[in-house]
Subunit: 344 residues, 2 copies
Amino acid sequence: MRIAIDVMGSDQGPQSIIHGAAKAALHHDNLELLLFGPSRQIVAELSRLPQPLAAATSRLVVCDSHDSVAQDATAAWALRHGQDSSMAQMLRCVAGNGSHGSADAGVSAGNTSALVALSRRELGTLPGISRPAISTAIPTRNGRRCYLLDLGANVDSPARRLVDFAVMGAAMAQSVDAIEQPRLALLNVGAEATKGSRSVREANTFLRRYPAHALFDYQGYAEGGDLFRGNLDVVVCDGFVGNAVLKSSEGLASMLIERVQAVFESRLSGRLASLLARPALKRLKNELDPVRYNGASLLGLSRIVVKSHGGAHAEGFYYAIVRAIQEVEHDLPQQLVQRWQTLP
Amino acid sequence: MRIAIDVMGSDQGPQSIIHGAAKAALHHDNLELLLFGPSRQIVAELSRLPQPLAAATSRLVVCDSHDSVAQDATAAWALRHGQDSSMAQMLRCVAGNGSHGSADAGVSAGNTSALVALSRRELGTLPGISRPAISTAIPTRNGRRCYLLDLGANVDSPARRLVDFAVMGAAMAQSVDAIEQPRLALLNVGAEATKGSRSVREANTFLRRYPAHALFDYQGYAEGGDLFRGNLDVVVCDGFVGNAVLKSSEGLASMLIERVQAVFESRLSGRLASLLARPALKRLKNELDPVRYNGASLLGLSRIVVKSHGGAHAEGFYYAIVRAIQEVEHDLPQQLVQRWQTLP
């Protein structure tokens, strides 16, 4: 298996990306990783890899690429000026159009808008899908995870696009996570059929009539609080709403952990605090930081692309690669196409 | 000051409402509270009030009302069948149209959709406002609070309605919280001007051109994560988004506190846990549970109405009454009207 990596665009710099990639190669025997970025910098980082990561160097291929997409670049800028960026070259490799052979999937921690726009141009979407959607698995109360989509690739989504998200999210839960009949809901402001925006009500009507051939188990409307309850596998919403929910959840979780930490450190002695509170809170922080520790999938493209959190450290980037590996193993785009053909 | 209270509709039953009301009367000398609900039940609760709450009984007036609005009733049901409910009678009292004289404000822990619909009918909206908005103050990193609106009274809000929310939120922060020039932002999926839904982009254009006469300090777009940062006083969004953000935040905060509790209880002995972890976490939970401990204001009505959380205990309901008192003291509807007149 070959996976193309965009080394640029992370808030943590190329080092964390390269460490994450080396860890993935170390843990997956038949994996080759193509690293797109300034070759001199990559080579320097590779030469400094500590043991045991250094053992993976032979399966990390340097693919020189000088340009990069800035974190604050717009999608329009990326489409116009980003053709030689590490991100675009990584994607061309995934499309099989680059000078480094083809890759089975691509991973980037760079600018999301640029990644969506360039992926769409370089890879194209699956038949019947106009734009990719972004999805990630959020942690829930009982330890199960719930896929939320879209997370910002689409705003003002009409009903039909919400239905597309439902089919894609369910296909992902079914094929990658082996959930036979994913429990799926539409995010709304209340449980009654008369509530909500027009597109959500129309999508609800469509999903209720959807043929019951075991693609998903439609549960109707969910409210924001239901996301973390653990009794739903897929929750569908417009990208504006999903983005606001995900980012506010990240902000709240990080504020909460900080506050808990402050409360305990003010009450426990320094030594007791470091023994008891800090490790427990650190673990919790990792568990609860969804995108940073999972990666987000771009769904509906002809090939597999995973977006790692811009603030991800090596460990977070490693998980984004693992996510890409899982999607390759289950041939996710093919699974999506098959399910599409069952749509009325 | 007289405040009308809907005793029905709380998940905790009338007792918590009556205890919260008694506490408010005890702490505010010139306050009279009119309790709308089944008189027999209210009288029984009043006779059982413990000290020191019982001392307030003389300023709690029983206003008999047999019907009530169920928590799962629709707005349409409430408008058609709810005219004799405790909620509608409480609102008529606020309008000065009831048989118990008039009240300066109303508070209910009941069904939000019904409260919005009945308030609109019984009280009417201010000139130029078609529908009320719901707002609450959410806790932030530095201990300051940030008003978020709308929280679900309006979905599919056009640009002009978002601008109305901005003016109302700023007026509230300015008059009730004495923030001279509230820092205000529009919630969006990114900071760039080209991003976001059409209505948000149009509202941004309008707010940027808004005359700089010190009503608010427009900061442009904010993302979900900025809500908790403490550098914004008012964040404006469509009700669908605000509702999803608020409810998911509530769900996440309660999941997080549970997890932290579980982690500490598994690591500390029972005695140590109850000494150290439980009180600290309880305090944190209260601080972070926005609506439950603040109440949410219905803005844009001709009179003051505060919605307490359906799950609020006596303490939470007490704070909702305190919120109503503050809004009466600052004559919030009049403040809104004045600011409206400055709008181009």
